[in-house]
Amino acid sequence: MITIIIGGSGSGKSEYAENYIMSVSEGKQKYYLATMQVYDEEGQKKINRHRNLRQGKGFLTIEQPVDIDMAVRKMEYGEKVVLLECMSNLVANEMFGGEASKKKNEVVEKIIREIHTLQENVTELVIVTNNVFEDGISYDDTTMEYLAAMGRINELLAKRADKVIEVVVGIPLIMKG
């Protein structure tokens, strides 16, 4: 099962995703795949807030900023549910993590392929992704390339997903499933 949860910043998507995965995880090990890399105090604050939200919910955290399928090797044997947070960081890390930024198609293919591997190895995969598309601003070419990659990945994931849920001001809206 793949579930996609999409929302803007401050939409409440993370909290919803965590509660959602709690509801489908009985008797299974819960994993939290963290894709965000910390560069400064602000990033650390954000991570702390998310950690507090997850506290006591029994997640094992795996830091996986790139090569998301590698997380499978770090998991224990048995049934598992996985919360991946979030796609926007994973795409940015894959695209801009190397010396030269990668092209859209290369990033899209890599991530989709790796997500597929991940999905085959877990019972339930919940992916949090970000609605970064509606500010109407024309950015520089690299950022536009990033937006195009994010858009394509969301589209492909939603096609494969069993459920797609948009979170708006903390309210879940079922878009598929």
Binding site: G7, G8, S9, G10, S11, G12, E42, N131, V132, F133, E134, D135, G136, I137, Y139, T143, L147, V168, V169, G170, I171, L173
Partner: protein, 126 residues
């Protein structure tokens, strides 16, 4: 309290005025101070600007909002949604998006109804 959200220029204000058949209302624009008032029909337009103003002045919007809601339990609050874009370079802009988002989540929890307006059409999501 009712909450109405949506993107920029989606006709939220006229939607509210028509939908709720409001003829006489105290309309507070977000650029003004949200004073403690108790009137029958209070509509707050551009709520997002009020949140931004609070943050610019170093005030805590959550506390002021709580007091306002106690005095105006039947108000209608209209706000832009601003979180659906690329994370801004400017730290203040990031803070603003995040804080407004959290304010709206709290309002949505307390609200009797939440509507999302796109092209002037309201969709009831709570």
């Amino acid at each position: 309290m009712r909450l109405v959200i949506g993107g920029y220029a989606q006709g939220k204000f006229s939607y509210v005025m028509e939908r709720y058949g409001i003829q006489e209302a105290v309309v507070l624009d977000g650029t003004m101070e949200m004073t403690t008032m108790s009137q029958k029909n209070v509509v707050i337009n551009h709520f997002h600007k009020w949140v931004k103003g609070c943050l610019e002045k170093g005030r805590n919007p959550d506390l002021m909002l709580e007091e306002f809601l106690e005095n105006n339990p039947n108000c209608i609050i209209i706000s832009d949604e601003v979180g659906n874009g690329i994370v801004p370079m400017e730290p203040f802009e990031r803070e603003y998006r995040e804080r407004l988002g959290r304010c709206l989540i709290e309002l949505a929890k307390k609200a009797e109804s939440v509507e999302r307006v796109i092209c002037g059409i309201g969709q009831k999501i709570k």
